[in-house]
Amino acid sequence: MRGGMRNPMPEQPADIRNKNFEEVALGYDMATAIDEAQRCLNCPKPRCVEGCPVNVEIPAFIQAIAQSKLNEAITILKRKNSLPAVCGRVCPQENQCESKCVLGIKGESVAIGRLERFVADYAREQGIDITKTDIDSSKDKKIAIVGSGPSGLTAAGDLAKMGYDVTMYEALHAPGGVLMYGIPQFRLPKEIVKHEIDALKDLGVKIIPNAVIGRTFTIKELMDEEGFSAVYVGTGAGLPHFMHIDGENLNGVYSANEFLTRVNLMRAYQFPNVATPVYVGKNVAVVGAGNVAMDAARTAKRLGAEQVYIVYRRSEDEMPARKEEIGHAKEEGIELRLLNNPTRILGNDKGWVNGMECVKMELGEPDASGRRSPVEIKGSEYVLDVDMVVMAIGQGPNPLLKQTTPELETNKRGNIVANEEGATSIPGVFAGGDIVTGAATVISAMGAGKKAALAIDEYLSKH
């Protein structure tokens, strides 16, 4: 039986972890990691690698763990992935590498993500640093990376390894993008993100914070005045969507972006030891059912909310969040209000939220895409007793870039139009990640950064 089942991940107990910001998953120890690694069949044609957007040599690094050669394991991992401690934690492996593992057909797939995390954590704790030895000869060309989220970090790392002079511009005061402001400490500790970014600085990548595209500089200025030969735009999907229903401007209504930025980037969970405040109600509704919604709901619970609801207009099967995150949220006492849609937010005479009117929904006929669309049940309106609402219904591209670079082609949603390799309508300007695809995953953004790095290298070899 043991052969078919993966080693479980130790975790903080749910009723303890929902009161602190410490990491939920505690990671494998050495013996467990080696045991798990030995489950890998080392397939001659490994399908797991195809499932990884950055094509990590998975069997090779797992075999190294199985043989206790951890220095070798981290070297193999970092060859393809600059941020393994991040990916091991936040990738939806069940839809990627692990979904292709042959062991998954009859039993459970190898816990590739957990092993990746184990190796990266071990290397960090032991101070093993392999990045410096990896640099190619200098190429004597400057490349600007705009945005320091997962796609920008990956492109920067790969281009620096190829020998380019890379400068990364970030609008916020800390690099990392969604890894810093969006994903909470309890899923991705910020010291780990900082450590992986510092490894990029060791490769020679320069990071300039507090510089916002469209305001502090434009793409044209970077190329014409600052001497950059190519620009990679990885500015993400940072513009929060609201529902445009009555009451959204009441006090106590947040976008998930604002709520999470206050707590993660500004550390408002430590208020008043830090200056940024955050409001938390007694009863909180989080609207939406993606990973951002799960993060916001679990964060509200940790900040002391008594009752936290996830309000979603479809059913559990359609929830876009990872199963694991939904499970964690439920264990922590988050209540799902499925097939419910907000119609307006109610407030008291001082302008604070004191309720949210919802209407019940049912699933109608499948539409063209095969997804059953939710339909309102007439007359089923009721008021949910909440004093805070977080809107987590998605994000779009920030319009600042388009305003100042009109020649950059975008689609009707405002996303940059780029080909498979990331090339945009402006020669020498490449783009990838959420700014091209719309809000997606960390690893797909990293995959885009990787492809673009290769395309930029090819472009510069001809120009």
Binding site: N257, M266, A275, P277
Partner: protein, 280 residues
């Protein structure tokens, strides 16, 4: 990091900082602002760019001590110190054109952000009439600077200790009643003042612009904390503004949203929450 080159005390609890920020000084236009973070545990606060020198690479910020962060900055930062983070220039620049006669109204430290805009209007050949107001004469700032860029400067004080006794709106109203031709009114100051300016000009149909001082976090359009109702739409003041048509702004919603953290703002963060101020 932005080094403080000059620090002046302009009025009780009001300080002028000239800081080194070449990238911002190179690009900024009248009407724009910066977000600053003083040190590691600081919050991010918006401050308007009150002046700039492109050649020296400096910008000027005017700060009034109204809470923890501004008090910390004004009372502990001295010349030579560095402000940890300064991001900018942010927001849409003021719309610049030759309108004709422009009345620039500044209340309290709102005079500081009015100054670069008034200067630009003046340079474009507009007739600039400035009305600057404060509670009393000690709180009047930028008097000489405003004089230099205005065809006419009117000073008002609530207690009559300088200039005309009364509010800025009294002088504005007198002008409108006298039938003076005004093509544009710009108002920057406390919300109540901007609201009153909007109500004063509304019956005359005089185009009126206000620069809104909403709560902000990032200042780049990613959170919507600064959202404000303008006409039938929600706007983000940091990217769509901060200037809007004052006749369309829902000032009541702005006032309400400014109160969101009033309870927390009373807490002194540097004491770690263990002092008496928390118990009260």
């Amino acid at each position: 990091m932005a080094k403080i080159l000059v620090k002046n005390n302009l009025a009780p609890a009001v300080y002028e900082f000239i800081i080194e920020a070449p990238m911002i000084a190179h690009k900024c236009q009248p009407g724009q602002f910066v977000m600053i973070r003083t040190d590691e545990n600081s919050e991010r606060i918006p401050l308007t760019i009150a002046d700039f020198d492109r050649e020296k690479g400096t910008i000027t910020l005017i700060v009034q001590t109204v809470g923890n962060t501004t008090t910390h900055l004004c009372e502990t930062f001295i010349v030579g110190d560095e402000i940890l983070d300064v991001l900018g220039p942010l927001g849409m620049p003021s719309h610049m054109s030759k309108f004709g006669t422009v009345v620039c109204v500044g209340g309290g430290i709102g005079v500081a952000p009015v100054y670069p805009i008034a200067r630009a209007y003046h340079k474009l050949g507009n007739k600039v009439i400035s009305i600057i107001g404060a509670r009393n004469k000690d709180l009047i700032i930028f008097k000489e600077k405003m004089e230099a860029v205005s065809d006419e400067l009117i000073i008002t004080t609530d207690d009559g200790s300088a200039g005309q006794k009364g509010f800025v709106t009294d002088s504005l109203k007198a002008m409108l009643e006298a039938g003076e031709k005004i093509d544009l009114v710009l108002a920057i100051g406390p919300v109540i003042m901007m609201k009153n300016v909007a109500e004063t000009t509304r019956p005359y149909g005089t185009p009126t612009t206000a620069s809104l001082n909403t709560i902000m976090v990032d200042g780049t359009g990613m959170c919507g904390g600064c959202r404000v109702r303008v006409g039938d739409e929600n706007k983000f003041a940091c990217v769509d503004g901060p200037e809007f048509d004052a006749h369309l702004v829902d000032f009541a919603n702005l006032v309400q949203r400014q109160q969101m953290y009033k309870g927390q703002e009373m807490l002194e963060y540097s004491c770690g929450g263990h002092c008496k101020c928390v118990e009260e």
